[in-house]
Structure formats: C-alpha cells, structure tokens
C-alpha cells in the first residue's frame, strides 16, 4: 500500500480470504498474510521493507 502511494506503477489490494474463497483457493491461500504479485502466489508472512521490495520488484514480475 505504501508502494502504491509512492509509484503510479504499483497497485495494492488487501483481500479478505474467507469472503472470496474461489480466488483464495486459486491463489493457494493456506496461511496469511499471503502475498500475490501480478496474479502469481509468492510467499506467506511479513518481511522487512527492503526484502519486500527485493521480491516484488524482481525482474520477471513485470
């Protein structure tokens, strides 16, 4: 969300998993927070800011 505020290239959504079970199943949500980048499931759990950016800005997500 901070990333979306800082860049017009980024959009960010929080999604309540139990209200959208079909999507949650498709994104293999078994633990939260579950991070999905450009529609591809990535990892579970919170990470430091720098690690978060390393992951979401990695080549291949664009």
């Amino acid at each position: 969300m901070k990333c979306a505020l800082a860049s017009p290239r980024v959009r960010a959504a929080g999604i309540e998993a139990t209200e959208f079970p079909t999507l949650a199943d498709a994104m293999e949500v078994y633990a939260v927070p579950r991070i999905v980048v450009n529609g591809v499931p990535q990892w579970d759990g919170s990470v430091p800011e720098r690690v978060f950016l390393d992951r979401v800005l990695a080549p291949g997500f664009g």
């Binding site: 290239r9 980024v10 960010a12 139990t18 209200e19 800011e49 950016l53 800005l57």
Partner: protein, 142 residues
C-alpha cells in the same frame, strides 16, 4: 451496536489526528461471491458501509463516497483509499472487521501523510520502476 467502543473511538480519533491531508474512502457495492459456510448471516455490503461511515465520523479529513460497481474495482464489497480524492490503486476487498479494521485505519493514516513513510532508498527504487506491479495481500479478520 456501534463499531467502535468509546475507548476505541477516543484512540482512533487520536491516531487520525496525525493526518495531514484529506483521504476519501470509497465503498463500492456490487455482486458478491458466496462466502464460506457459516458466514452468510452477515450482510457484508451493509456492514462494510457502516464500518467506513463510522470511521469517517472520527476525522474531519476522512470522507465517504458510496458507489455501485465503479470502474477499477474487481470484487465486492470493496473500499478504495484515495489520498486527496486521487485513485492510486489502493483497495481493500471484503468486510474490514477485526484486525482488518486496524489495517484500514493504517491505510487511511498512510494515505493521509504528506510524505511517504518508506525509506529514501525504497522510494528511489519505486521511482525507477519500469513495469506495472499488482500486489495482493490475502488476509483474514482473526
């Protein structure tokens, strides 16, 4: 029953007092997915609107707009967080209950800042971004 207990209301007012610019919260209604069994006794759309309406009453810099299936919303109910009314692609999909109410308040606070709370290094990396990135964070209220 009100969303905020009196002691919570006081605390949230204090937090929101740090806002430096207006933030518009857009409640988007539309067709909803059938949730998991046992959740059907909650009117997600009505409760989402009630939560956001009560939150907006706690700061003069928060405002509410209610829309039916507006452009740029993928599922319902949804809450858009718009700093100074600008849509910067920030959404919460679902009813912001429990921990997620805290997340929504956090989003309003961040959007209400006049400068980012990210590090200078992070801001530089985001400024150099040359492709679109969509980040979805799946959460639960408990």
């Amino acid at each position: 029953m009100p969303i905020f207990r009196p002691e919570d209301e006081t605390r949230v007012r204090e937090l929101l007092a740090a806002m430096e610019r207006p933030v518009e919260l857009v409640v988007a209604h539309g067709p909803e997915e059938t949730p998991l069994p046992g959740a059907r006794d909650v009117d997600f759309a009505a409760e989402t609107e009630r939560v956001v309406r009560e939150l907006c009453e706690l700061s003069p810099l928060l405002s509410l707009r209610v829309e039916q299936q507006p452009d740029g919303y993928e599922r319902y109910p949804a809450v858009g967080v718009l700093p100074e009314g600008r849509d910067e692609g920030i959404r919460y999909y679902g009813l912001p209950y429990g921990y997620e109410l805290g997340s929504l308040i956090g989003a309003a606070l961040e959007a209400g800042r006049s400068s980012s709370s990210l590090s200078a290094e992070s801001l530089a990396r985001l400024e150099a971004l040359d492709h679109d990135v969509a980040i979805d964070v799946f959460v639960t209220p408990t």
